[in-house]
């Protein structure tokens, strides 16, 4: 029987190795898998490459990973916010490497990994410093940049509800990077507010089919 539900967030992050590339969902504070990131912190995993849109804020989640010096490299589009003090501190000290990627390219690169593609040409970033060192090709009269797939060893994502097959639905704009990240990682772990019985989610409205999901853990409504 397929049952992807695990009992605790510690079980959910079991086996995540030092040095792993971890895709972390969320946009600002929306849709961030806070409990899973803290479980990863408690696990002690370090030397991580974290792929996430922002670089955390305040003292929680990705900011806490940065504060505790668990992050070797961060791949993101917008690491700077009012509360991104730990990122700025570590970045200024040269303790964390930053790969800045335009937001659409960030999600598209993860989708390419999910889709088994070898890369794509995008007009985004052409003629900018974010294209430096990248292959440029004129297609249909327009300059395009070649971008490579971006794969995770692990994805940590937040959703609203899951069944034992790992089918997911999300809540409003918390969906953001979740569906792409779970499809782009070798091990996909999801925290949800609620478990439902198999068959309770309408097959027409499942956003992430369970094929992309390895573990789901219930953390209760925020």
């Amino acid at each position: 029987m397929i049952d992807k539900r695990v009992a605790t967030v510690a079980d959910a992050v079991e086996g995540i190795e030092d040095g792993a590339t971890v895709l972390v969902g969320g946009f600002g504070a929306s849709g961030v898998p806070v409990q899973l990131v803290h479980a990863l912190l408690d696990r002690g995993s370090t030397d991580l490459t974290v792929v996430t849109n922002n670089a955390g804020s305040g003292e929680t989640d990705v900011a806490a990973l940065l504060r505790e010096r668990r992050v070797r490299k961060i791949v993101c589009s917008y690491p700077r916010s009012a509360g991104s003090v730990w990122f700025e501190e570590r970045w200024r000290a040269g303790e964390v490497e930053l790969e800045l990627v335009p937001q659409g390219t960030l999600s598209e690169r993860m989708r390419a990994a999910a889709a088994g593609l070898g890369g794509f040409f995008t007009p985004t970033g052409a003629d900018t410093r974010l294209a430096e060192g990248k292959e440029v090709r004129v297609i249909d009269g327009r300059r395009h940049v070649f971008e490579e797939p971006l794969r995770g060893d692990v994805a940590l994502v937040k959703a609203a509800r899951a069944d034992r097959w790992g089918n997911l639905v999300y809540r409003t704009a918390a969906r953001n990077f979740g569906p792409t990240m779970v499809a782009a990682a070798a091990l996909s772990v999801v925290e949800v507010d609620e478990f439902v019985e198999l068959g309770e989610l309408d097959p027409e409205t499942i956003v992430t089919p369970g094929i992309f999901v390895d573990r789901v853990v219930r953390v209760g409504a925020a």
Binding site: F27, G28, A29, S30, G31, N53, S77, Y78, P79, R80, S81, F87, E88, W91, R92, L98, L100, V101, P102, Q103, G104, T105, S107, E108, M110, R111, T122, P123, T124, G125, A126, D127, T128, R129, L130, R143, Y170, R171, T172, A173, A174, R175, N176, F177, G178, P179, T180, V207, A222
Partner: protein, 227 residues
């Protein structure tokens, strides 16, 4: 420039709002451009897009009714109108990059006379760089409008022969709305379409580093009430 020869930010937003067609799909950049939504009036139905997976974004919720997950690109709480939809980030950017948005209104540090846009970095190496969705919007929207002050706070021109700040995208800007003028980006550089009543062409050229040309029928922009 005398203050009475400048539009207020609200004036500029109102002017931009007049440019938004009924039924348009629109993405407003973070900061000043978000003011445009407040100036549309009730007679037009416009669908606002947010890069984090929203179409049909409505105004800010009443205090106490914020949903922490339902935010706009600037991470401010918003609402969803009837007819709105949620989707994932990759689809949100497919819409942006794929030419599905009728227009976007973006802020700018600099715009060049060939339509290059610089609005994400000043080259200041003491702050970490951050780009977000700016490049995707700039290359992808069918019409790229820029809303900005004509000069920096220090009086430096923002409309230049070439941008000196790092580019967001090359050759993408269609039109610029400033507190002094409305200018099209044409094959021959900036063409002034509208300018503040009372301002001379020399005044405007003096506040602009790029060489200006003027339409045959330059119309007057009249500042509204002061804010």
């Amino acid at each position: 420039m005398r203050p009475d020869l400048r539009l207020s930010v609200r004036d500029v937003a109102r002017r931009v709002a007049r440019e938004v067609p009924d039924g348009a799909y629109v993405n407003l950049g973070i900061g000043l451009p978000t003011l445009v939504a407040d100036c549309l009036g009730d007679d037009r139905e416009v669908v606002f897009h947010s890069e984090n997976g929203i179409l049909g974004m409505g105004p800010a919720p009443a205090p106490g009714e914020e949903d922490p997950e339902l935010v706009n690109a600037g991470k401010q709480p918003v609402t969803l109108l009837p007819g709105g939809a949620f989707f994932h980030h990759t689809d949100a950017f497919l819409m942006m990059r794929g030419g599905h948005l009728d227009l976007t209104v973006l802020g700018a540090f600099q715009v060049s006379e060939t339509g290059d846009l610089a609005n994400w970095a000043t080259g200041d190496a003491s702050h970490p760089p951050a780009v977000g969705g700016a490049m995707d919007l700039a290359v992808g929207a069918r019409r790229v409008l820029v809303m900005t002050t004509h000069t920096t706070r220090g009086g430096e021109p923002k409309l230049l022969p070439r941008c000196t700040y790092p580019l967001t995208a090359a050759g993408v800007v269609d039109r610029v709305y400033t507190d002094l003028a409305v200018l099209d980006v044409t094959g021959e550089g900036f063409l002034v379409r509208e300018m503040v009543a009372g301002l001379t062409r020399d005044d405007l050229q003096g506040a602009t580093a790029a060489r200006l040309s003027f339409a045959d029928d330059v119309t007057e922009l009249v500042p509204g009430e002061r804010e």
